[in-house]
Amino acid sequence: MSTATETAAAGPLLRVRDLTVGFQTAQGPVEVVRSLDFDLPRGGALGIVGESGSGKSMTSLAVMGLLPKGATRTGSIEFAGTELTALRERAMREVRGNRIAMIFQDPLSSLNPYYTVGTQIAEAYRSHRRGVTRRQARTVAIAAMERVRIRDAARRVDHYPHQFSGGMRQRVMIAMMLSMEPELIIADEPTTALDVTVQAQILDLLAEIRADTGAGLILITHDLAVVSEVTDHIVVMREGALVEQGPVERIFTDPQEPYTRMLLDAVPRIDDEIGLLRTTAPAAWEER
């Protein structure tokens, strides 16, 4: 809590420089993220947009230090003044979930079917807060569920993931993350698996939480409409590389790159001709 924090307070929440993620494949090395640079100011909301295979999910996993086995990561990821790439696994675990929290695309498969949602929320909380009893963690879990407006949380806390609807499951995931009061929230396609009305609710919830807690948000999506609702800055990625970045209004009104224009055209509009998006990502880059 001294000079390091003060200098960090001046800088951005997250500063990514020259981030490169690669894999060794049978065909030789493949780079799925190539010298990516971006900043996320404190309290800012950044959208990372691109088609599947563009490396946006790999970028988020690289920040979390959760890249799949065999992946290499070079470059710099500075979080609140701390260089994450230099942290040992044990120190990184203190950051993961605790200071940077992540929610994923498919809330059903992202929750363990064998444990109640309460157990799964409480276990994250207990693993980061020393000396917390089961009972206290349960109270925290119920409070977090109430905060994401799951009705009857005191009873629902003992239910299993399969007893919730898709939107409610994503709320559970958000509650799990919220209970830790993270400084940075990474949401990887959080609404893709949900139907449209529920999508809007989840996005509203994320925006509300951001306003309440002042946490930074990185929203990863292929859907520009989603990004425009919640974020104030956009990073467009293609084939692992940065295409362009800028404030949401600028990207939407005055895209500099043809690829961004194509992405914008891909957002369906009633009065629009169909814009074709050419996919050139090689198969080896396909995300699961």
């Binding site: 959760l66 363990n112 276990e123 299993y160």
Partner: protein
């Protein structure tokens, strides 16, 4: 839930009835005439007829079968008048060799078989699950390869070879363990443990190898699950991630086969018991087969079938308890 139970019970009864019928046909109809056997060398046709009448062998097949079934529940009386012998339920008849009631013989030996089965099961479950988990999280590394080598050895060495080799090494050469005898636990727990250690190990090794491979495969699969990624993203310690999030889902299929394997073993470990001379159900079966003691063979067979059927049902019930998704009556 009660409907499920009822259906299972009904199915169980049908299966057991069919097993009874089948064994009855094999052992009583297709086998040599028991009356001749019982009568011995100095025998007259009248004596044989007398025995047939006493045992009810002169009756038609279905009558004999029905008497056998009812005897299981209500007992039966062999012979008439002064010679009548009462056989209390569950009556499985009398041994041709020792003239003891078969039910008593089985009950006497059941504790030995149960001791062997429980001890071996604990060993192989612990070794198999621990080995499989270590193997899975160290996939492709030294520990994994080492364990793979062990399991391959464990699976390829036959029971009796292992039993004899261990006996030679630990009892004869090194003198570390006594020659196995069924010592009751209450008499001397230490001796009890020393006596059963070898049979347990011998029985456990093969299964431990199989369970290790199964656990490894299941854990590797569950490690790919999205919820394991969530657990990591929450910042849980690797130990917790593996135990809670990877191992727990992997155990469901293991519980399923464990129930069957264990029930099977309760019905007698034939080879192990015979090699170590332990008087369990398996030894009883082996002895009665060599002496063609039909009522005993039949009794042992029925017991084994009963245990397997009950084991399968317990597994089904356990399964609903283990996996919250198949619990009946869950609320949406």
């Amino acid at each position: 839930m009660s409907r499920f139970l009822f259906n299972r019970l009904l199915g169980m009864i049908v299966v057991l009835f069919l097993v009874c019928l089948f064994t009855f046909v094999v052992f009583f109809v297709l086998s040599p005439d028991p009356a001749v056997q019982i009568c011995g060398k100095n025998c007259t046709p009248e004596a044989i007829d007398q025995i047939r009448e006493n045992l009810g062998l002169d009756q038609p097949f279905w009558t004999q079968f029905w008497t056998f079934i009812t005897a299981l529940f209500t007992g039966r009386t062999y012979g008439t008048g002064a010679n009548a012998v009462e056989c209390a339920a569950p009556c499985l008849g009398y041994s041709f060799q020792t003239s003891q009631p078969v039910a008593d013989m089985i009950l006497q030996r059941l504790p030995v078989s149960a001791t062997i089965a429980i001890g071996a099961a604990v060993l192989w479950l612990l070794a198999g699950v621990a080995g499989g988990l270590i193997s899975a999280v160290r996939e492709g590394r030294f520990a994994d390869r080492f364990i793979a080598g062990l399991t391959l050895t464990g699976m390829s060495v036959p029971n009796y070879v292992l039993a004899l080799a261990l006996q030679f090494l630990l009892v004869v050469t090194l003198g570390w363990l006594p020659f196995p005898q069924a010592v009751p636990f209450g008499d001397d727990p230490v001796r009890w443990f020393a006596n059963f250690l070898m049979p347990w190990t011998v029985l456990a090794i093969g299964s431990a190898a199989v369970y290790t491979r199964l656990t490894r495969a299941n854990v590797i699969e569950s490690l790919q699950e999205n919820y394991v990624r969530t657990a990591r993203a929450k910042g849980l310690r690797p130990g917790l991630v593996w135990r809670r999030h990877a191992l727990r889902p992997a155990l469901t299929p293991i519980v399923t086969i464990f129930g069957m394997d264990f029930a099977n073993l309760l019905g007698g470990a034939l080879i192990t018991e015979t090699v170590f001379g332990l008087n369990g159900i398996g030894k009883l079966a082996a002895d009665s087969i060599t002496k063609n003691d039909q009522p005993v063979i039949m009794g042992v067979t029925l017991l084994a079938a009963f245990l397997v059927v009950v084991g399968a049902m317990v597994v089904d019930l356990l399964y609903t308890a283990i996996d919250p998704r198949v619990r009946v009556g869950s609320v949406k």
